[in-house]
Symmetry: C2
Subunit: 434 residues, 2 copies
């Protein structure tokens, strides 16, 4: 399994590296008024979260009166400057390098910081961002191929260490707090199938199928025929093997291709966790793909990470983990449905379910951290911890949403009239996120 | 009860009136090639619907091969020109005046025409309208007062003739095809209450409360305190009387005021059927009202007629029935939620429920048509028939939608995790619209 190449170092990073060396040589005693002032700027920008902040001497420079949830320690001057000059990438890279340390419950600390940042910036968001569509990464066909390989071809052995047994790499659906991740992923797949009202003999197109779990589940348990598309060679190969073992080859076809090349007609168009990689520039193209694929009384579902407000994606996440990714707002998603007057019939926000899913993944990741460190290195482990924990915190703090949008052709008048059948119980299921 | 003043007649209308007189004097024999050509234009613009079209001699000028669903008859030349020159207002006014006659099942004929128009114009919509926000009526404070009086102060005696016993003038919720309108309105109110998770002692603000049914229902059955706002003097007076009779005066306060003047803090903000009268220009104002009213862990629901695509409202409806009204697309509605980063947690489209509700209202309206004719006149009866039947057809054909949008403060992390409890059964409820 190839190790990730080291990040190439730009000018700003070199400067920070020098500050790092200087900070290190200065030792604890080298802290001066500027260091304290810079940390004060970071505290203010973060909206004064209930989290202590220290410099490399270990003394709290900032410690709010309210019960603190943890502590963030900047281990050298370079880490401080990095976080000021390039807050997202700098902080993320320095954490990954072990030059910023987070003490206390990892997800809780991040969640409190995200909440605090969101509160502090609401007014600024309103003033500056409303109506402006932030620049999103461009996903040309070649770009998409490269971006998908970067993340999803990291190796099935790696993902197997912390995903559920079916290798479902999207938000699960926890009907109660007690169910396992395995059960919750199964429940999510059933929820999706019920939402698009699958019936035996229907034709399904799945755009972005991961390791093939949903496609196989639909074919096996709902008697439908599925054509499933995915750009990742490793995932498609794995999915084809599974279809073969399950004797479902005749009913599920896995196609290694771009969603833009989707062909065929379907009664249900399903896409779970792909839209994040499409980018708003391509929503009208996706609209045309759905329009030419969907039967006249067809319906579909798009499941995607999203935002309450059009917001630039985390620069660090975009750079180090998910190149080309962009979680849209509902407003932005409408560009997929409006061109051909698709009728939105249901939107459900599962953000707390994704927070719980990510916390489960992080737990399994930590349980296997030694193996993962051997496969990659410490930097990789910390980067992925920050990704999984940071995303969990993002969903828990509501800075990120998870939308399941069900849509139908306008001619479709025989959709179920109520939604009770989507559920297994009419009892309130009020579990609380830990 | 005052009769509606006759419509003031503009230049175009005078010209059409002259053509009318001329057509009438020409009689059946006066049909010429131009009349037939004009009707042909109307047929093309309507996308060649499965509905025959005739002129005043009663012969079908257009009768498609497929099984026709009914017939539209233009009774004079003026009605023909009106429908060409000003398709929405002209057609609506001539129907109201009895100069255009619709044969066959009224709602079915209109539904087929709407479907056909929508299909024919999808490509044009895409080219011309996408991204452009159509001009909406301006609802200043004075304008809103006038617009609301025009419709809602027509007289409680009139509305009592065709609404349910509780006088609920919004989309009902039919859990099965067999329930009555009364049961369906009750079910809708309970659905709304469950969606905002009412609990005893909560404070509710209702923006636009009609005759007060929902406010009273919430106070009586969910133990909450309600402040309900409405501009209509007749409705507020009626609602206050009901609160008094029910002994709920201490827990429900009806306030005759504009939503812009809402004061107080609430745990749930509810607005059912008001947004249509707000207009997109004022969505940011509404956002600020919600923001200043809603407690930190509060949630809310907006229930509104809407569109799949930003579309100008029917000019006839806007002019004759609902001045100042504008049904928004989901994209447009986002301007209410984005400014303060409210999280959308649930959207349900009840368009088929509104089609059924309107068909129930139309049936009751027809059952009482003699009384209504006595209260007003023939023109009024036909105008309201066109309004109720046209709206039923709009929802049935999917040219109009009904969105219930549930939103929450971003800090709100204890919302129920699944939606099963919103429903009374987990069985599929597939009733079909007649």
């Amino acid at each position: 399994m190839p190790k990730r190449p080291s990040h190439s170092m730009g000018m700003a990073e070199s400067a920070v590296q020098m500050a790092h060396a200087e900070g290190a040589s200065n030792g604890a005693s080298g802290i001066n008024w500027l260091d304290r002032w810079l940390l004060g700027r970071i505290v203010e920008r973060a909206g004064r979260p209930p989290v202590a902040m220290t410099l490399w001497d270990g003394d709290d420079v900032y410690c709010p009166a309210e019960a603190i949830k943890g502590r963030i320690r900047f281990c050298d001057r370079g880490a401080l400057w990095s976080s000021i000059l390039n807050p997202e990438v700098g902080f993320g890279d320095c954490y990954s390098a072990g030059r910023i340390v987070i003490e206390g419950d990892f997800v809780t600390v991040l969640r409190e910081v995200f909440r605090s940042i969101d509160r502090a910036s609401t007014q600024r968001f309103k003033r500056d961002l409303l109506g402006r569509i932030p620049k999103a990464a461009r996903n040309t066909r070649a770009g998409s191929q490269k971006h998908i390989e970067y993340h999803y071809d990291l190796g099935n052995d790696f993902y197997r260490l912390w995903l559920d047994e079916r290798m479902v790499y999207t938000c699960a659906y926890f009907e109660t707090a007690a169910v396992t991740l395995e059960q919750a992923q199964l429940a999510k797949m059933d929820l999706v199938c019920r939402k698009v009202a699958l019936e035996p003999g229907m034709r399904v197109i799945e755009a972005g199928c991961g390791w093939g779990s949903l496609a196989l589940h639909m074919a096996e348990h709902y008697g439908v025929e599925v054509r499933a598309f995915n750009l990742s060679a490793e995932q498609v190969e794995f999915a084809r093997e599974r279809a073969k073992s399950a004797g479902l080859e005749g009913r599920v076809e896995f196609i290694q291709d771009d969603y833009r090349n989707i062909t065929g007609v379907c009664d249900a168009f399903v896409s779970v966790g792909m839209l994040e990689h499409v980018g708003p520039d391509n929503y009208e193209t996706l609209a045309d793909v759905i329009h030419r694929s969907l039967a006249r009384d067809g319906q579909g579902l798009i499941h995607s990470v999203g935002r309450s407000l059009p917001t630039p994606p985390s620069a660090w996440l975009e750079k180090r983990i998910f190149p080309g990714s962009y979680p849209p707002s509902l407003r932005e998603m409408m560009s997929i449905f409006e061109p051909h007057q698709l009728s939105i019939i249901d939107v459900e926000n599962l953000r707390l379910h994704y927070a719980k899913t990510l916390m489960e993944w992080l737990q399994r990741f930590e349980n296997n951290v030694d193996k993962i460190r051997q496969m990659y290195d410490d930097n990789f482990v910390r980067a992925w911890r920050l990704y999984l924990g940071g995303c969990a915190a993002g969903f828990a703090s509501s800075s990120t949403q998870l939308y399941q949008v069900v849509f139908a052709r306008p001619e479709h008048n025989t959709i179920p009239m109520t939604r009770g059948h989507l559920h297994t119980t009419t009892q309130p299921t009020r579990w609380k996120l830990d």
